[in-house]
Symmetry: D3
Subunit: 236 residues, 6 copies
């Protein structure tokens, strides 16, 4: 691990991030071809909140939040701070004071593959957080790490300046260059889903709408009456 | 695994299921002699909701929701869809579109031993879900499975046409033939609990109400004063 | 394990416990020098609730809540019951009836390193609970254990008569003799945090407020421009 | 749960079980159409051992092995005892004394969805065990359960008198009536695998042997040269 | 947490520890009345090894092994080092160099509620280790902790100068003052077990040897013939 | 996810990989500045084996090993196949037949962030495997994925053509360009460790060898006599 703090990371336009925030994480993940989802372990501490922003990363030692303080200085309005420990850690790296500092810089939220604390206060002040743990156990400030280097959560690479989107289903990350495509594809997907929603609400079956009956047949799936099935079981 | 879709499963009467929904999962589980609880891993995505229904099952491949689409067609008003993967999977098999389809058929909710997505939308539309995971990662439609065959969650067998009850404490399943007994026993249990509740609220101790003092004595449990206890510790 | 029930445990003054309840778990944990936190596995079943009380302990067999009934008798107004199984257990040891009994005795809440049930009812009646699991699976009353002996959760020793504080961040325990210091140190910490909060809200950086720039330098952390960094990566 | 001990369970012929033991768990699981595998959580305490037998079940309370003692009496030569707790439990239900008792009755091994102890002694005496946990924490004998009722592990139903097969890959269970088919299909599968093994060892590719190239094409999988791929990445 | 290093801890006599090492962890745990077992999460990196010694403790920060180095100086022949992190950590705190240092001081092994590395080398040099994790990820030396203060693993308190015993079933700890009783009770237990072993090997049932038939009857456990049971099931 | 198979990946020289295999994973991880360790969840199915090779990657769908078959064709002598599922999966993707195929191509081993089966056979044939799970549950061949694209395990990026090293402590990955530095730094580290080993074996303390006494003092760590410490505790 190089102990560096990288500054001057280019960001995607705020307007584009705001457009992205119009779509759900599941929708964008699909629209992107199913990449960039950070996995089911990152859960929101609040409900019914969605944010989009530009990634600033901090790579931290277990039980040590020194590099979060260094990362704050690298944050600009519209950013989302992404914190990753070098090995699994449940400690509460982040609380209401750091949130105050980030909020004062226009940062939109925190994504942390470790623990947070002051969760009640964070909800009260409206600072959104997605974390792996909640823990009152604090950290020290003693060990070097890195700011704005690539990190990884849930098998997905995350680079500074990437776009990030988070809601109740979790967090998805995409390269800034993919934002226009993501928005376009999500818009298309939503339009298509709206038509599907109406058809399904009206009673059409997915089997028909997605033409799955042939596939079931090709896979050798058979339809059996319940009575026949029970007789077969008894005969065995 | 036989790749079959079983139709024509008989259901318990809706009126009986509605009666069942008048009792909590813990109450019914007790009333049944403590069978059928699907375990602490299945958690609701909403709060303070209780449903009862008739089971339709779908057995699905990891990462593949083809058989959920086949199961929708087998669902009728008052049903609850129960989805089980053939090996552990966190993927989001189910979202708002499938919920729309089920809702249009009068289905009362979903129980899934895997992941769901669109949780905010599902809460907003009032479609209740109990799941093991929440994940934005979607699934494919490529692999055969089965509909309305027996499945198992948390060490409990679940058969199509079973009655199912779910609330904030989890999910319990019972054979349709046990419904009358379950309702009768739950009613009796609630009556008894009401008397107990009043006695306990008035200050009676469980030790006395349940006649446990003799048992404690038989088990050799001794009463010791705190000062004596500390002296004993120091003496050692 | 000695099968004993210890009575006559001295409690800290209620007034002091009420003072303690004026501070968050994370604050008190810090003020104490970071001891006594019971770990991230104990989660509240409710939100935005904080309690402080005096500890009564129950050591129970897996799947057996006999000793909770014995512990109720040892509870007094202002107490918090702390239940620990002798080996990990998810069962619902505690529900609305036991809560009714405890509430009638003025007990302020439950902390249990196992499962609870009737969670919806417990929230409705305003009885606060921190638990490791939620499970409708009940327990028997057949095996001896102990009441008011020292127990341990999350690597922390808990003694009867200790002070305990619980909120959304978890649970912290401290010896009664440390209460005055904890309150004093928490008051001082809050005052200091208020000043820090204002400074951070006004834009001061943690790097400056906590004088961390020198440390970063001592640790060999270097500042690099993004473009330079990318060039370095490409050159490798 | 009915508190019963069922006796007189019919067993499959020992000769057939011995034939079954000639095949690996993975082979039989495939031959059966992928049913009956008890999942990756059950691990052997020994290495390179395989057994087959007839199932005797014990359903036990957490921390209580009373019903294992009752189950021993129901065991006959060629049996394998399968123990399942009513909720998850790590306790060491079973050790060298119970193994001595089972061995004296000709029992071939233990499968337990909980903990065992005396593992070193069990290996030394050659009594094979598959368990979820190893724990020195013992159990009591205080609570009723059941012997030879259906149980479930890893989502699979297990009935008394079923055939069971266990090796380093885990445990698979099948109805006695399926034994002839399982042996026949496993024999056929092994013959086919031997041919495949030779072909693969000689350098034939699975892509060709299983005719997968067309499928890859149909799924839209494209072949790209590494240089082209890197250029594409850079261009983005 | 007080940042202190406590020296001059009195040890139990080596001869007594050597006697203790003549018994298994499960036996001693039973003989003690089932206290002091550190739980199923601590696993040996070697097989068929048993050690007993006197406890030296180190309380360490996540990802930081500074205090292990301080603890080495406090170790004497016959000691076992017990390392506990202040919050869960998988890092490899300990490897072959620290083992060399401990071995040169006559230390008998390591028990660590975190990770170790160089496991192959540790086995080769015959230095026994019980750990929660194996991880090549190293630690720093930057944060204060404590040596020879009480710690806790698996809900059990561990004090410097306690006796400790470890084998394939895990680790048990007891106060030095309980050593004579533990050895006496274990000797008695082994004698009794030998008689039981012979009786069980000769075919006596636990049901009879432990007089459990009456208990089963009192608990309402009924004996049912398999055919009757199946008829009952079908009739339902 | 782009569904592509990338061919023509350049490899590091075999001679350099063989040099790398002369060092342990922990040593190389340190020498690299602590990057590239794939985490404690990947465990070997064999003991005392170490391999080094060049990475070929396969990105697979949960429960589907189609792309492993495609990856085999891309493998050359000296390669190590690295398989990553798109979401967590315990299934046995890989067994003895695929190992036969890989062995015939000179592949040195498998690293898989999912399950394997035929573990006894794999050990017997000497094909080394590091996996997250062992499971007899097989997979299908129905869903597209990718070969030789970047993947991620344990927060570390892995690229085709990277060097990989695996032993009993886990797996570490490094870019091919870092091989010379890794070997040089590991050689230096080993030389230094040999001197340290001799000094420690001769009784020198790490406190002195690493000059840690000053640091302890700076951190405020105090030395206290045991008797004094106990008095302090009692006085509180």
């Amino acid at each position: 691990m190089k102990n560096i703090i990288v500054s001057g990371v280019p960001r995607p336009p705020l307007a584009r991030l705001d457009e992205l925030a119009g779509f759900g994480v599941a929708t964008v993940h699909e629209a992107l071809g199913r990449v960039g989802y950070l996995g089911p372990e990152l859960r929101p501490i609040q409900q019914d909140t969605r944010i989009a922003g530009s990634v600033v990363t901090a790579l931290v030692w277990p039980g040590d939040n020194l590099m979060i303080h260094a990362a704050v200085e690298q944050c600009a309005p519209g950013d989302v701070l992404v914190v990753v420990p070098t090995s699994p850690c449940t400690d509460g790296y982040f609380g209401e004071l750091l949130a105050t500092s980030l909020a004062s810089r226009g940062v939109r939220g925190l994504v942390i593959d470790a623990g947070v604390r002051d969760t009640s206060e964070l909800r009260a002040m409206g600072f959104p957080v997605w974390s792996r743990h909640v823990s009152a156990q604090g950290t020290v400030k003693a060990t070097a790490g890195a700011v704005n280097v690539p990190v990884s959560i849930g098998g997905q690479s995350i680079r500074p300046g990437d776009a990030i989107l988070a809601d109740d289903d979790g967090v998805v990350v995409l390269p800034a260059r993919d934002l226009p495509h993501a928005i376009e594809a999500s818009t298309a997907r939503e339009a298509k889903e709206q038509a599907t929603r109406e058809a399904l609400a009206a009673g059409q079956l997915g089997l028909d709408r997605y033409s799955l009956r042939g596939l079931l047949k090709d896979l050798g799936v058979e339809y059996v009456d319940h009575e026949q099935y029970l007789e077969g079981e008894r005969a065995l």
